[in-house]
């Protein structure tokens, strides 16, 4: 097996004037000097409290404006030092869940571009219907699942073991571009692959990029929604912030107002699903409460999700607080006078 090594520039880190990666962390209170000391320990492969307290929200990747990879450094070191952020049985569950089995179909017969990968979310197949998705082929299954979730579980080497095979499975079809429904997939095939020097022979396209283009094609048929919405950024969007502008572009096109609130954009809070998985119950409750109260105070009518996992984690509380939880593409359908799948 090829040993993929993290492209981390130690010198760049040592000379950093801000230490934003740790100083801006929303879950640990770290000053600049401490940040410097802890990063130096981690660069040397030594233990640090950061390795034990990290909620694995990926934010430090975005806070590092020098293009280094502090988050990947943390997770690689967690694995090296045997620090499991999540109890072992939960890790076993998720390792098994996404292990391609004998029954997984290796080929997508008849799939033609444009192609949308639904990763391992078959429950969303019915939602990929209507004007926005005319003529698209869907591919999904464990044998093309991007697998980056393992950075949450303290075993990121499994990503490096599996991701090249997933890339190979997709590449067999000679697609020039693949649209990734799951933010995590897009970030895996772009940010993660690039950080470890894994070659991707097709162009990953973010789902929101695709949605934006399709909405523009249908602009004349659209009715402006005139709703106030809160946006729940997923953790993996921290890995590829360069495509975040599509969120605002889409909101502008369909006529919704992204409410101004404390926990949005770079200051966003994690959906807390993974914090719950870390068994930090008090923090989980606190983070979700602050996040949702912030949406309520900003008078959001909808909470718009990008990631199915965030939706799973947060939608119940959002609904209890009187807002409508909705996936981005379903919100777009409303602007085209189409009902999202399952709506009555």
């Amino acid at each position: 097996m090829i040993e993929y090594k993290l492209n981390f520039d130690e010198q760049l880190c040592i000379t950093c004037p801000t230490r934003d990666c740790l100083v801006r962390c929303q879950y640990m209170d770290i000053d600049k000097d401490t940040a410097k000391a802890e990063m130096q320990k981690m660069i040397k492969g030594e233990d640090s409290f950061v390795l034990h307290e990290c909620v694995t929200c990926y934010a430090c990747e975005e806070y590092c404006k020098r293009g280094n990879h502090p988050f990947y450094l943390i997770t690689d070191l967690q694995e090296k030092r045997g620090i499991f952020p999540i109890p072992k049985p939960l890790v076993t569950q998720w390792v098994n869940a996404i292990t391609p089995g004998r029954k997984d179909i290796k080929q997508f017969w008849g799939a033609e571009e444009p192609v949308i990968s639904l990763c391992v979310f078959p429950e969303y197949v019915d939602s990929i219907r209507g004007k926005l998705f005319e003529g698209v082929s869907i591919i999904l299954g464990r044998h093309i699942c991007c697998q980056p979730g393992y950075v949450h579980f303290g075993n990121p080497s499994l990503i490096r073991e599996r991701l090249p095979r997933m890339i190979e499975n997709i590449a067999k079809h000679n697609f020039k571009e693949v649209i990734f429904f799951h933010d995590e997939c897009y970030s895996a095939f772009t940010s993660y692959a690039s950080a470890y020097g894994i070659k991707v022979p097709f162009k990953p396209v973010h789902f929101f990029d695709y949605l934006h283009n399709k909405l523009k094609e249908h602009e004349s048929e659209m009715k402006l929604l005139n709703n106030k919405v809160a946006y729940q950024r997923p953790c993996t969007s921290r890995l590829t912030p360069e495509k975040e502008h599509f969120v605002d572009n889409i909101f502008n096109l369909i006529g919704v107002e992204r409410v101004e609130r404390k926990y949005d954009r770079e200051n966003c809070l994690c959906c807390a699903g993974i914090i719950r998985g870390q068994q930090r119950y008090d923090l989980f409750v606190d983070v979700q409460k602050r996040n949702v109260e912030d949406m309520v105070n900003a008078e959001a009518e909808y909470c718009v999700f990008n990631c199915p996992a965030c939706y799973s984690s947060l939608s119940e509380l959002v609904a209890k607080k009187g807002m409508k939880p909705i996936m981005m593409h379903d919100l777009c359908k409303l602007a085209l006078n189409e009902k999202p799948a399952g709506w009555k």
């Binding site: 109890p87 072992k88 076993t92 998720w94 098994n96 068994q279 119940e316």
Partner: protein, 464 residues
Amino acid sequence: MEVIGMDDIYKSLVEIVGEEYVSNRREELYIYSQDPGMMEPHEPDYVVMPKTTEEIQKTVKLANKMKMPIVPVGGSMSLSGLVIPHHGGIVLDLKRMDNVLQVNRKSRHVVIEAGMTQGKLKAYLERKHPDLRHSIPDSPPSSTIVGNIVIHGQGRLTQQYGFNSDMVTGLEVVLPTGEACKIGTCSVTPYWFALAPLPDLAGLFLGWFGTTGIITKLGLKLYPKKKLRDAEVFVIEDPNLVPDIIFKLTHTEMTEDIVVSAQPYPLIFKDIISIIILITGDSEEELEFKRRMIWDALRTYINSNEGGFSMVPPDMKQNLLKMPSDDTTKLADVMKGGGFEYAGPIIPIEKYPQAYKKLLELTSKHGITFGHAGRVIGRSHCIMFSFAYPFNRADPDNLKRTKKALHDTNIASLDIGGVPWKPEVPAQKMIMKKMDKNTLDLMKRVKRLLDPNDIMNPGNWEAE
């Protein structure tokens, strides 16, 4: 000697219940000859659907006169062939007797007829008394409440209040000789509130599978129904942890129900034991308080990295909160051949690891798949440990291997100190073989005393 032919029996039955409610047609006898489990089918001679206790009394008296077997039937859902008429005779289908006779709100109990189904009582209470509930088992809604009581069934409230048969407040029974008899306070007063403080005669009928009499009416405890419910799932890999986890959870006295489950597919469940914990509350605050108590109770296992609370997505949660759960039904169809049976011994909690090990050993030995669910009974007093085997009825080899696995499971259950629950006839014989001789003799004497002509559901609880 008066000789009566089959035609005369048919006519007599028509006289008792009316022509519409008697049948000896092959297609109907076929239906009553089997259940979805593995016991060999056997057709009855007649099927009768009475409407009243008096009609049952008359039918029983006729059966006595004819020395003809009589088998009372509810939903026929035991899966272990407990109402298959092994010696033919009359099947007494009680489904027409499905009325709620009274609900006592303040004393929280209901009196129902014997054919009342789980689904109908649930719907009735939801409509008329939304703050009351009964202990719903995970059998299909068409299974009957009396059927569940007679086999010492369990349900959603079993972890709090014991076996569903512990929730009986009174009985009306037609004895094998035809007399109708009341048991509990209803035998003294018009009220069906308890079996105590009288001598407990209910034990003459509970767990006997209809071999000592026919329950025609039942008084059943109802319980407070909270407005909200929620589910947590704690996952572990080591079965040795289960007894202590259950002990700790039940110590909180905060849970509605605790079910331990394991299955090899889908892969997310492979090598994992899930402990499903249900909680209820009248407010979000009450739920939150209970949730925290439960998390705190298992903190030791979280800290040691041996277990953790799983993420429960909304669709999965919805499934866990279903009453009854349809997981069993889904499992029943895994092999796509219309066959499903489980041995569900009641075992002491501390024997869980042994039973789990045996489950893996037997399924591997016989090359079959499994689903396992164990419902905690009482505050860690014991657990129903199901060894559930779906099979393909159209595949003789699969059928044979599953049969062997069930046989081995019953032996193993007794060996580890458990007792097979709702055992099929061969397992009943295994139990009786192992039973204290004086106890077995007492059972025989009771049976002989109540059923001198040995007409009641013959084949069941018959010693060698």
